[in-house]
């Protein structure tokens, strides 16, 4: 079976949860991240806790949009906010802007005092990023997202956490950024962003060109791993038979083929999820 780009992305996001154990895997940056948490739980990380996108902790692992047959817990918003501070949660967030140290912005574009474009507001991202494991999912890798400097630091990156002192960096744990082109991490001496792998069919030059700041690029960049046959089966037959993943990341087809038209997303938003869930 040949994996689509969306399927490669789901698996790359799922890999972010590897080793997390018995904590909440909160994929809230889109269909891909919710699928990633559920796929990890159904395959290599069985103790993960997953939710339904609102306030149920699911005892089984329903398909995207499906209702759980078993509920194992209740996480109303106030407990979700408690859980953020408590840290037993790895969140995969979206971002409208992201810089090389992993500072993110979902608040507004332009000057905060009189924004050119008001977005969501910081939501829970300031707390998320200084209190527990955080990764990002960016469905369209572009210089509009990967900027030299974000307009309003909502999520705290490595440099800003260090500057803000021990209370800010004690639990700061910014892990990786997965995009439709590549996996990025912060495994450099100054914790700036590094190209960790490129997805099949993507060149290093393409990623560099679509990143608005200087990206650390190792001499050899590995290819993002392909989904296993079992992972593809679980994704296609169990978790996402309606192929919502393909709407979020249209498959570019074989190299050289014209790209499929991207589904239009809401302005300024990272994904088509239900945005009422805490960030």
């Amino acid at each position: 079976m040949t994996a689509t780009r969306a399927e490669v992305c789901v698996v790359a996001c799922a890999e972010a949860f590897r080793g997390d154990g018995e904590i909440l895997a909160a994929g809230i940056g889109g269909a891909i991240t919710m699928l990633a948490a559920r796929l990890a739980r159904l395959t290599f990380e069985p103790h993960l806790i997953t939710h339904d996108g609102t306030c149920l902790l699911t005892g089984d692992v329903p398909p995207l949009g499906g209702t759980p047959g078993v509920v194992e817990g209740w996480l109303p918003l106030r407990d979700h906010l408690w859980l953020v501070l408590n840290g037993r949660r790895h969140v995969m967030l979206g971002a409208s802007q992201l810089d090389r140290y992993g500072n993110s912005n979902i608040s507004c574009i332009g000057d905060w005092a009189r924004p050119r474009s008001q977005l969501l507001g910081v939501r829970g991202v300031p707390g998320n990023t200084v209190c527990g494991p955080t990764s990002y999912w960016i469905p369209k890798h572009s210089p509009r997202v990967f900027v030299p400097k974000v307009d309003m630091v909502s999520g705290v990156g490595h440099d800003r956490a260090a500057e803000a002192g021990p209370s800010a960096y004690r639990h700061h744990d910014l892990r990786r950024v997965v995009t439709d082109l590549a996996v990025l991490d912060f495994d450099t001496p100054d914790h700036s962003m590094r190209l960790a792998s490129v997805h099949p069919g993507v060149t290093v030059a393409e990623v560099v060109e679509r990143t608005g700041f200087r990206l650390a690029v190792p001499d050899t960049v590995p290819r993002t791993r392909l989904p296993t046959g079992e992972e593809l089966r679980v994704l296609r037959e169990v978790l996402d038979p309606g192929s919502l993943r393909e709407r979020e990341v249209p498959d570019p087809g074989p190299p050289g083929a014209p790209a499929a038209a991207a589904a239009p997303g809401p302005p300024g938003a990272a994904s088509p999820r239900e945005r009422g869930a805490p960030a």
Binding site: L77, L81, R123, P126, V156, R275
Partner: protein, 286 residues
Amino acid sequence: MSGKVMSVEEIVGSLRSGMTVGIGGWGSRRKPMALVRALCRSPLEDLTIVSYGGADVGLLCAHGKVRRVIAPFVTLDSIPLEPHFRAARQSGAVEFTEYDEGMFMFGLLAAAHRLPFLPTRAGLGSDVTRVNPGLRTVRSPYPDGEELIAVPALTMDAALVHLNRADHLGNAQYLGPDPYFDDLYAKAAERCYVSCERLVDTADLLKEGPLQSLLISRSMVTGVVETPGGAHFSTCEPDYGRDETFQRAYVAAAADPQAWKAFRERYLSGDETSYQEAVRQAREGA
């Protein structure tokens, strides 16, 4: 029924311009929209609105009622961005105090417990401290010596919340999956007004929900009003879900001044009864 039962006009009539008003619910969920619509019709202005914001904030901005918004976000959930709040921010029509969601909860908790502040890690290192230069830090007096943000109490003059059931004394019950923070709003405000889908006898409160669903005690409630459909177009589960069609129409109308004028004319020019009638007609026409 006697007790604390009031009309939406009486509730709004008891408020004053310049007040700080908290609004319960979350995003586009269980918002006390009948009370918000009454606020829009009132002569009140210069309000400070404290809210996990949705169309409550947007509508009040669109009606020129707001001086300041205190919020971690304003969203319609299934539609991410609230058009009237965006317009108000982008034109500089309102002031904004932007908080992290957890910080905001600590502000409510502090007010509810009559504390001046509560410490939190949330906000450290982010630009929240840059855009709210009034925020102070506090150092732990214990050996850890941690320096944390001191979130000031979000004390309010009045809180408005919408629940599924209430009795005439103001005991109020939620039947949906999430209490949100409505009891904290009630405890954090000088006065709290409850609107509900249905007023019931006190003896009937446990017929529909368990003990734990009795969220707000009458000791925190100044007035209560029955407003069926009073959270429309936000959710009020299990009584009804979000009216997504209406919400889309609301957002579409906001994109154009003429369309917005027509929308206001059709839905918001009369009282709550005529609003609900216009919604019913729109639904039957659809």
